[in-house]
């Protein structure tokens, strides 16, 4: 127990933040995607520490198993013909960084300033998959259905958006990008 925190927590927290920093700083896109995966994993471990086992495994399944893979695919599909990212940072990086720092400062201040008197956790809640399922089917049935529709729509939308267009003669009017 270092500084009152458990070893497990410190390690996972460090892993998470390190992964995030790596994603921010690395130049190779694929490395960024992989460090993102590490961050996701760290977060999953944090969920497990918070006795949210279902959320943790959902995080692994969805984020690591789907979103990260998707990001990797996207990176691989959008590789330029030999053009590497030589300058990964935009010209006004300082402004962005300062905004992010200000955000962290604000959030941190808010957290510190609103420490509750009681900081210890109560007993671990008895959450089973069955209770989650029952909740999904009773109290949360509407959000469930809406999310189902949303996922369907997003799936169809993504497919349509990313579908290669049939070759037409006036493809010149559509391409561009204001170089």
């Amino acid at each position: 127990m270092i500084f009152g925190f458990s070893i497990a927590f410190l390690l996972t927290a460090a892993l998470t933040v390190a992964g995030a920093l790596a994603a921010a700083l690395l130049k190779n896109l694929v490395h960024c995607a992989l460090s993102l995966t590490v961050t996701f994993a760290g977060l999953a471990l944090l969920y497990l520490q918070l006795d949210a086992q279902f959320a943790g495994f959902a995080q692994i399944l969805v984020y690591i198993g789907a979103v990260a893979i998707l990001v990797v695919f996207a990176i691989l599909l959008t590789r330029g013909a030999g053009i590497a990212e030589y300058r990964g940072f935009s010209s006004s990086w300082l402004l962005g960084l300062s905004i992010a720092a200000a955000t962290f400062a604000l959030l941190g201040w808010a957290v510190i300033k609103s420490l509750p008197a009681e900081t210890e956790a109560s007993a671990a809640p008895a959450v089973t998959v069955q209770s989650i399922g029952a909740a999904l089917m009773s109290s949360y049935v509407l959000p469930l259905e809406i999310v189902a529709v949303l996922l369907t729509v997003a799936l169809i939308g993504a497919v349509i958006v990313a579908m290669p267009e049939p070759r037409t003669r006036k493809s010149g009017a559509e391409s561009g990008g204001g170089q």
């Binding site: 006004s92 905004i99 604000l106």
Partner: protein, 736 residues
């Protein structure tokens, strides 16, 4: 009509309470009264079905029409026997079914039907005579190409007429009355390609319409005063003492009570339908229709509807009469009836068209019926109506047989000697003629007409109608004998190349049946055995041979007989004894028969004996006392002037106003355009330019760089969140 009947049935079926019945006995409604509505409904339904048939399906059409009327006849007979049995047991046989049709706020419009002796006897008469005429028409119209349409209209007419008879509600009666008028129009103008037929149909419709307007006024007034249009409704009906007392106590204009005024208004409607003076002008012209139509509608049934209406509202007409006096309405009815009787008989003397003679005879006899109603009561008038229906239908059908046999010739001056060629027609026609003239003892017309004459003699108000009726009786015998002499006696005066022939059985059989009735019905109304009167008035029947010994009765009857024989004798002397011959000199051509003004003298036509001896009087009578010309000169001319005025108003005044308004709007439009193009466009265009400039300025902000957008977004959220936290901290929500 479909909508109406559907709504009727729907409302009747949807009644919460059962329709109220009045049963004279047993306490329960009799089934025949419950299904009484079928009697008019079945022929109407048949009419609807026939309307869907093709013109070639003649047999089916005729079968439907005759079958439906036959069913109605059976039901009518059943109803009649029912009423008979009730009467025989001494009860008052009046049964009523009524139901609510339309709700108007707190009141209801009610419809319903009634079965009492009056309705029962009329039902049997109308359906029986109608059935015979339907059968006759299948033969008469056999060569006509519009056979199916004819039977459709006939069926509809039969249904509507039966509806008028059983109606217990003035509203229902009026509705069926109008349908009767409509079918009369359709049937008179059946051969609509003939301009004279179309004009006659229009004339009939418009003339009866004038009567109907007054009728409707009477109905509305009655409804407003009494709140009901039902005749009988357990004491709450319009013909029952409570309502009548209310009407009597209401004064109207000219010293009349409401009862009297309404009675007169209703009589106006009856006068139109029954061809009383001065609304008689349509009836002779209505002979343009086919002869079965003339027989059915203008002899036996439709014209009788007016008489029936007066009989129905008789309690209203006679309300307030003291013993030894009578009401204003009935006085008016009697006088108009008497004048009509004389007028019709006078004009009939000088007519040369076989159907027109009969038409004016009908006008005259309807006058007799009205006098009978007014002076003697319902039974007297109705008895003559029943007997007249039979012998007048017989006469018309006989005339049709003659016309058919003479190949559509209708002028009696061009007939002659048909007695030998068409024996059955001659015999039956003779029976009808004698019945109409009032030949004593054996013929029904004698008894019914004598009853009327006796009642007119006993009328306390005046002897005027009595005298007029006597003259009319004389003339009736005279002109009928003249007609028979022209048609059946002497030698053939028609075109030499055409020969007459007897009509087929389908036409002569109804003639024979009607002839039997023309003779036999007389027994129903003799003074010794007043069956008819007792039946109608629901009294006990007393066979009383001493009925003949009533003071003054036999001498009166004798006097009437003398007059009749006088008329018959004069006719025989002038037209039969010296047989009417064709003048040997002039050749005879076969002209297209024209129906129009009389007299038309074509070369070769004979000149009537009377015509040569009193030409001026003859001309006046032959031209129907110039009634039509009078109307044309006055009413029609005034109406045409009104129409011209309307047209002028419409074109000049209203049209001018509209044109002026239109010009005003055009000016407004021009001004609008000027304002628009000068000011509004100017200002608006300026404003748009400003917007474009401003937009250009704002667009400069959009550099199109996503990262910049993101940054601005993040910065904005940060600032907001920061503000919120700071404010929260300051107000104590966030602990320092």
């Amino acid at each position: 009509m479909i909508v109406c009947s559907a709504s009727l049935m729907a409302s009747w079926l949807a009644q919460d309470q059962a329709p109220n019945f009045t049963a004279a006995y047993h306490g329960g409604p009799s089934w025949i009264v419950q299904i009484l509505w079928l009697i008019p409904a079945i022929p109407m339904l048949a009419a609807g079905l026939i309307a869907l048939l093709k013109q070639s399906q003649r047999n089916l059409a005729a079968g439907l029409a005759i079958g439906s009327l036959g069913v109605s006849l059976l039901l009518a007979i059943r109803a009649f026997t029912h009423v008979l049995s009730v009467w025989g047991q001494g009860g008052v046989a009046r049964e009523v079914v009524s139901f609510n049709w339309i709700e108007l706020g707190a009141t209801h419009l009610q419809l319903g039907w009634i079965l009492d002796p009056l309705a029962a006897i009329m039902l049997v008469m109308v359906s029986f005579v109608g059935l015979l005429i339907f059968v006759y028409a299948t033969g008469y119209m056999a060569h006509d190409e519009n056979f199916t349409r004819f039977f459709c209209f006939l069926s509809l007419f039969a249904g509507a007429m039966l509806g008028v008879i059983i109606a217990n509600s003035l509203l229902l009666l009026f509705m069926c009355w109008e349908i009767v008028g409509l079918t009369s129009y359709l049937l008179i103008g059946f051969w609509y390609q003939k301009p004279s037929a179309a004009a006659a149909a229009k004339k009939a419709f418009l003339t009866t319409r004038i009567g109907d307007i007054f009728f409707l006024l009477g109905i509305v007034w009655l409804f407003a005063q009494t709140g009901t249009m039902l005749f009988y409704n357990h004491g709450a009906g319009a013909m029952e003492p409570v309502a009548l007392a209310a009407l009597l106590s209401q004064p109207a204009a000219l010293g009349l009570t409401a009862a009297g005024a309404i009675g007169l208004l209703i009589f106006a409607g009856a006068a139109g339908k029954s061809g009383q003076l001065p609304l008689h002008v349509w009836l002779p012209d209505a002979m343009e229709g086919p002869t079965p139509v003339s027989a059915l509608i203008h002899a036996a049934t439709m014209v009788a509807a007016g008489v029936y209406l007066i009989a129905r509202v008789y309690p209203l007409m006679s309300a307030g009469a003291t013993a030894g006096g009578t009401t204003v309405s009935l006085t008016v009815v009697a006088w108009i009836g008497a004048l009509t009787a004389l007028f019709g008989a006078l004009v009939a003397v000088a007519q040369n068209d076989i159907k027109r003679i009969l038409a004016y005879s009908t006008v005259s006899q309807l006058g007799y019926m009205m006098v009978g109603l007014a002076t003697g009561g319902v039974a007297v008038g109705m008895f003559h109506l029943i007997t007249h229906a039979f012998f007048k239908a017989l006469l018309f059908l006989g005339a049709g047989s003659v016309i058919h046999g003479c190949h559509e010739e209708q002028d009696i001056r061009r007939m002659g000697g048909l007695g030998k060629i068409m024996p059955v027609t001659f015999l039956t026609y003779a029976v009808g003629m004698l019945a109409l003239s009032g030949f004593p003892i054996f013929f029904s017309g004698f008894w019914s007409k004598d009853a009327i004459i006796g009642a007119a003699h006993a009328w306390p108000v005046s002897e005027g109608p009595f005298v007029l009726l006597l003259i009319g009786a004389l003339l009736t015998a005279f002109y009928m004998t003249r007609q028979v002499g022209y048609v059946f006696f002497g030698s053939w005066r028609g075109p030499s190349h055409s020969h007459a022939h007897e009509s087929p059985l389908v036409m002569t059989l109804p003639l024979s049946i009607l002839a039997v009735f023309a003779i036999g019905l007389g027994v129903l109304g003799t003074p010794a055995w007043p069956w008819f009167t007792s039946f109608i008035e629901s009294k006990r029947l007393l066979v009383d041979m001493h009925g003949f010994s009533e003071p003054g009765l036999v001498p009166l009857m004798g006097f009437a007989v003398v007059l009749v024989l006088l008329g018959l004798g004069a006719g025989w002397w002038l037209y039969m004894q010296k047989a009417v011959q064709r003048p040997a000199t002039a050749p005879v051509h076969h002209h297209q028969q024209e129906h129009g003004d009389e007299p038309q003298h074509r070369p070769g036509d004979i000149v009537d004996v009377l015509e040569s001896s009193a030409p001026i009087i003859w001309k006046w009578l032959a031209n129907r006392l110039y009634f039509d010309e009078l109307y044309a000169a006055t009413v029609l001319r005034w109406y045409a002037a009104l129409a011209w005025l309307s047209d002028w108003l419409d074109r000049r005044v209203w049209g001018g106003t509209v044109a002026a308004i239109a010009k005003g709007f055009r000016g407004l439009g021009w001004a609008n355009k000027a304002i628009d193009s000068q000011w509004i466009d100017g200002t608006f265009d300026k404003g748009c330019e400003e917007l474009v400039t401003g937009g250009g300025l704002l667009a400069w902000l959009q550099a199109g760089r996503t990262s910049r957008y993101l940054r601005v977004l993040a910065l904005g959220v940060l600032v907001l969140a920061g503000l919120e936290l700071v404010v929260g901290a300051m107000s104590g929500q966030v602990r320092p």
